[in-house]
């Protein structure tokens, strides 16, 4: 990813016209790592949604992976989204599909052959230690297990850009450490990683460049 000059003024899907994010400008090099920090309500999720192309900025210019989002037509966005992995704060798993099918979903949408899908999904589920739960529906899984399914779904397609919104919120310390090792490894392999969290202990243990948000403003970057 090359998130060049993401500066946009009042942004975010706010119907009331209240500015959720204001005058953000930053640049994350391809293959970089960023913590996205700030208190609850600071706008972390909104910023990740912008980067995930789930909403468009109301002002300013946003460039994601060399594509100027404001200029790009609707048709150009799906291919872009397929190169982005997103771990949602609320997981957003499909309740009627098994854990396996949830993880396989991005690959099926991308039209990968079923043989490759089986190999990739099985490997990824083993990676998040969920291979025993492949047939379970999300409702039959604990919060932490659902979060790991969401993580597996985000990384199974080997995204160029990985966005994670409070990915350790439902994990115990050991699982959180395992996740950080996974993310670091992905980052080392070239994936740009942005992790939003308010888990300060985690950040202390894994120091790295951070974007600090407060009340919709960027306090510090790098």
């Amino acid at each position: 990813m090359e998130c060049v000059g993401l500066h946009y003024r009042p942004a975010g899907g706010n119907r009331a016209g209240h500015e959720v994010l204001r005058d953000l400008s930053f640049d994350i090099p391809e293959g970089g790592f960023r913590w996205l920090l700030g208190p609850s309500g600071a706008g972390k999720t909104s910023l990740l949604r912008l980067l995930h192309l789930a909403i468009r900025p109301t002002s300013g210019r946003l460039t994601v992976m060399d594509t100027e989002v404001g200029d790009a037509g609707r048709r150009a966005l799906p291919a872009l989204r397929r190169r982005i992995g997103m771990v949602f704060q609320d997981f957003r798993l499909l309740p009627h599909l098994s854990a396996y099918d949830n993880v396989a979903l991005p690959l099926r949408i991308a039209g990968r052959p079923e043989g490759q899908i089986r190999a990739d999904v099985t490997e990824t589920m083993r990676w998040v230690a969920l291979d025993k739960k492949a047939k379970s529906r999300p409702a039959e899984l604990s919060g932490g297990e659902q979060q790991r399914v969401a993580i597996a779904r985000a990384v199974v397609g080997r995204p160029v850009l990985l966005l994670a919104d409070e990915p350790t919120g439902n994990l115990d310390d050991i699982q959180a450490e395992r996740l950080m090792v996974m993310l670091t490894e992905l980052n080392r392999l070239g994936t740009t990683v942005i992790v939003a969290t308010h888990n300060d202990a985690l950040v202390t243990r894994h120091p790295g460049p951070a974007l600090r948000l407060n009340n919709g403003r960027l306090l510090a970057s790098g």
């Binding site: 799906p78 957003r92 599909l97 979903l105 991308a110 052959p113």
Partner: protein
Amino acid sequence: MARNLLRPARFDDLGLRRALGDRMLLLLVAAMAFLAALALAGVVGVRALAAHWQEGAGSALTVQVPRPADQEGGQTRIARVLAVLHDIPGVASARKLSQTELAELLRPWLSDGAELMAIRLPAVIAVRLAAGAPNPEQLGARLAAAVPGTLTESHGMWVQRLSLLAGSLQACAWLALAVVAAVAAAVVAIATRAGLAARREAIEIVHGLGATDGYIADRFASRATGLAAIGGGLGALAALPVLLVLARLAAPFAAARPEAAADASGLAMLAALPPPLWLTLPVLPLAAAAIGFLTAQVTVRRWLRRLP
């Protein structure tokens, strides 16, 4: 294409099996197809009857000869007219109606007393024309020149009126067909929109994972197409007995296959259905499927424009 075949057939990422009110949609489409079958039968039946009348009546003439028994030029007037008719090329047959046939024709107006009342009835000749005959006006002029007072009446006027009636009936049937198709499209659109609302979250998730509008629309369209095709088939099947009964009732008029009308066995009943209907009935499920596919595609793609 080939790699899509490898996808598990029952993989239903949007959960449409539950969301797209199948039973209701199926029943409504079946009802539409039933109505469409009746309207189609109307089109086909009226066309067949009109063609039958046209070929029967279009080539028929009646010639009235007043005072048929009077002598004229050494012959009775009626004999003269018949002789002239026989000399005209293209006259397939010319037959003088008997007194009883005439009485039968006149009964509605004169009751049974036609003969008794001793009205001097004109003789009536029924003429059938073949190809190459002069037109009715020319023929009438020649007859009137040979035997003054002869009246030639073509049935063309009635054929024209009947054609007009048949044309209007056919137009009505086509209109009914168009309305039925429009209602079917509306039903599919409403069902699709209900499905979209019910699966909104799943659609947003799949959209967020990079699914194109086409991917999502295809999911809905393939389901709507299948349901509409089955509904169309059911409707056409349900209409079949009704059509067979109608065909039997119409058989004596069309009289195309009197042997079928006389034979009540099932096979003969099936044979009584006009061939055009046999061709159009299987088209109903196909047409329903096409309506389902197009409507779902358009509805879903339009709805998806609200997502970024």
